[in-house]
Symmetry: C2
């Protein structure tokens, strides 16, 4: 399943928000999938889904939790951006090391991005969006931010002077950088200069740029490159 095969396969179709809730910042979860597909040079189609349609039966047949993205390739239908990125990485060269131990380490970082680093970050977003009017919001925010700082500090110490999580760029960086991008702006990420530089390094990749432009074009209604 993995290795340096770029075998012929059907053009996959992914789903994305019809109306980007982040106004084209590329934080929705289709962005990691687009980025991975661009890294490996795999063309893809996009089907846009409205907030309403996401929660209805046809979309839930693809994604039981009523979210985006999904990934359809011939008879295969997948959900969960981490799993989709892993599937892309297994089917194409360039996103996972070929040496078995290095590959396993990169996959460990894929799980770490979504299971360990992201949860407190998403918690702050949930608080901002859903608990902003609650009486506890102001008091609780610094508590969550300290939890985020702990994870960022640990990640920063491990990354140290490294360019990527493993020696070569991998699918783990796609997921981790997308997680860290959720923090851009409010200052937390900037407390860790090597993490800021790591995110900037990822964003400078041509494949990131192509993916970013494609998702932005959905929001602006202008084709990419305009």
């Amino acid at each position: 399943m993995h290795g340096k095969k770029n075998v012929h396969r059907p053009i996959p179709t992914i789903t994305a928000f019809e109306q980007s809730p982040d106004r084209g910042k590329g934080l929705a979860r289709d962005m990691a999938v687009r980025w991975a597909l661009e890294e490996v040079g795999q063309p893809y189609a996009v089907r846009l889904v409205s907030f309403g349609a996401m929660k209805e039966a046809p979309h839930r047949a693809l994604h039981p939790f009523g979210q985006i993205p999904t990934y359809e390739e011939g008879d295969l239908a997948l959900f969960e951006s981490g799993s989709i990125v892993l599937h892309i990485a297994e089917g194409h060269a360039g996103l996972l090391p070929s040496e078995a131990n290095a590959r396993a380490r990169a996959i460990t970082w894929m799980f770490a991005a979504h299971s360990t680093v992201e949860p407190p970050i998403v918690q702050r977003e949930i608080a901002t969006y859903l608990e902003h009017d609650q009486p506890w919001y102001a008091q609780r925010t610094p508590v969550i931010e300290d939890r985020i700082r702990i994870r960022l500090g640990e990640l920063s110490r491990r990354l140290a002077e490294g360019h990527w999580l493993e020696p070569a760029f991998s699918a783990a960086d796609v997921l981790m950088i997308q997680v860290l991008r959720r923090l851009e702006g409010p200052g937390l990420l900037e407390e860790f200069p090597n993490l800021s530089a790591y995110v900037a390094r990822g964003k400078a990749r041509p494949a990131f740029q192509r993916a970013f432009d494609a998702q932005l074009a959905v929001f602006t209604g202008e084709p990419p490159g305009k």
Copy 2:
């Protein structure tokens, strides 16, 4: 890497809490790894780590976030229980379908367990342990519980009358059942009878029982089977 190979490999060593914070209920994250190892018949060694040692440099060299479990096998060191279970499943028969599409679907469920179903459940635990004395605790708890109910409802509808997430038991069930076990007791899980039955089905497996007894023995100080 995957398939029906039970090749000779070094006995892996995992880490677990020296003092189980759940008093042997088998909710710590070594449990999924133990269960997976028992399912495939792979013997393993356990190194116990104190709360203090987990946060110190030697353990952090294995686990940058200072947690358990870790997994050492020859020169390979991994962390993240989801990734470790996937690694075990790839190296042994019995935890992932051999057909490529079915395998990808099972891996999607592995990510879904940790990235989509677990976060609100862990949020409630964090609130219970760390925010119990905060003024917002009582008001916020039902808000979190409703988020858990949404996810459980979605999972329940997808599982329907199925025995496992995919037609055959897989590594996805190991992870998902361990996530759902965190809810046993307080009633939320019992609102969804097919999920309760699913968890019971997992717990009835001999490999689960062996893994559970082994982690309980760490807490009681009695060897398993006593």
